[in-house]
Amino acid sequence: MKMLATFNVNGRDRDTVIAPHMTLADVLRDQLRLTGTKRACTGGNCGACTVLMDGVPVCSCIQLAVNARDRKIETVEGLAKPGGDLSALQEAFARNNAAQCGFCTSGMLMTAEALLRSNPRPTREEVKVAISGNICRCTGYVKIVDAIMEATAAAQEAAE
């Protein structure tokens, strides 16, 4: 049972052939070649596969692709500015050494992006709650929380 499906990924409509048993992570990685989204636990526990669907973070490894067809999907590839420069959040991650092996980083970035859009001035505690579904086995989270706090609106205004 194959079907032609259109996905709006990072603002562009992308056509591809999918089957109903494919998850969104399968389609993004294997069909659309957007390999920034990682498959890790494939059970919705670790958050490495996080993408934004209509602006809210979801686990793409347990999201059936058929149900994501009419939704606006954003992946880590869409975070950088059109010219190729990194976004403020990505810059903050790089400056704070918030990635070690980097496998969780794309999921962390997407979850943090959704948080900062809905709450531009989060507290440290709010950041910790928001990224509680993203597991990182390298950093111990301190650098990640530091990076997200540096990318908040309050920090940016203070720097200007």
């Binding site: 109903p20 526990n45 686990c59 347990i62 149900n67 579904g133």
Partner: protein
């Protein structure tokens, strides 16, 4: 865990009647967010050759929450939809807390509340919380509609009273009396051996009389202990008619413990779990009573302001 799902047929009906017809014809389960179904298909715990999706049926994502009319949630309402709602937080606090504490938080954006209730997984939180709020499920099937209390809904592990081709279109929690409060708490890691259940969860609802001096109604629910959450009427009987205080909550917790059967055969595991369970129940009831006592509704403030203005 297997990497891929096995292929299945997938139907996307656009009305409830069409969905019921498809599910009956193919003996297929319904799928909404898939947060329970997709991982179990991937682990090969279940094998489904056909699924019927509710995602394209309009109207099922409506919900209304109000202290006068109760809480009505359509089958497609996801858990995170409740979080910003003021009445969900103030008057249906148990379910609101359970949704807030879902792990990982992304699940709240994907999975529906009704789907969580219908999956029949013994350790899920939302059934425990909804049972304390006296939830009832509106079931639609070939033979017409019926209403099932959540207490009568589960028949065995992963089994409910639903047959193939029956769908829950709505969950309804009735409005409670004015001076009542509810609460939900869980202990996430109570597991000591591989055979233990992962966690304990409890929910309570306490209604006080007009002077807020005596308890006139109570519901105490403990989940994750057996295949379904249970109401403990002996504990409720301990609470009703008494003035709320800490010793009373401990007595109610002990009344629940008296009814519990051990889950595993290791004595020290049981000892730990019983001790945790006692503290959990005592604190849950205490918080519900505290909320009933300190209840503050902006709705009543607004009514008073309107009266003053007129």
């Amino acid at each position: 865990m297997g990497r891929v799902l096995l292929p299945f047929e997938f139907y996307e009906p656009e009305s409830v009647a069409e969905a019921i017809d498809l599910a009956r014809r193919h003996s297929a389960p319904f799928i909404m967010g898939g947060c329970t179904l997709v991982p179990s298909l991937r682990r090969r715990q279940r094998r489904e050759p056909c699924l019927v999706s509710l995602a394209r049926i309009p109207g099922l994502d409506d919900f209304s929450i109000h202290p006068r009319t109760g809480m009505r949630l359509g089958a497609k309402v996801v858990a995170s939809a409740l979080l910003p709602h003021i009445w969900a937080g103030k008057r249906f606090a148990a379910l609101h807390e359970a949704c807030e504490q879902l792990y990982p938080p992304h699940i709240g954006n994907m999975g529906s509340i009704v789907g969580n209730l219908c999956s029949g997984v013994p350790y899920f939180d939302l059934p425990t919380a909804a049972m304390a709020l006296d939830a009832e499920l509106h079931v639609t099937g070939q033979g017409g509609d019926r209403v099932v209390k959540l207490e009568d809904f589960y028949t065995a592990k992963f089994q409910t009273v639903l047959s193939r081709g029956e769908v829950v279109t709505q969950v309804f929690c009735p409005p409670h009396k004015a001076d009542s409060g509810s609460s939900f708490k869980k202990i996430y890691r109570s597991r000591r051996t591989i055979d233990d259940l992962h966690k304990l969860n409890a929910a309570a609802m306490v209604t006080l009389d007009e002077d807020r001096a005596r308890i006139i109604d109570a519901r105490v629910v403990l989940g994750s202990w057996s295949f379904r959450p249970h109401r403990y009427r002996a504990a409720e009987a301990v609470l009703v008619g008494e003035a709320p205080n800490f010793d009373l909550f401990e007595q109610a917790a002990d009344a629940v413990l008296a009814e519990l059967d051990p889950v595993t055969d290791l004595a020290w595991v049981e000892k730990t779990r019983f001790a945790q369970c006692r503290v959990l129940l005592r604190d849950t009831i205490a918080q519900a009573a505290s909320r009933a006592k300190s209840r503050h509704d902006p709705f009543e403030d607004a009514a008073e302001i309107l009266e003053d203005a007129s």
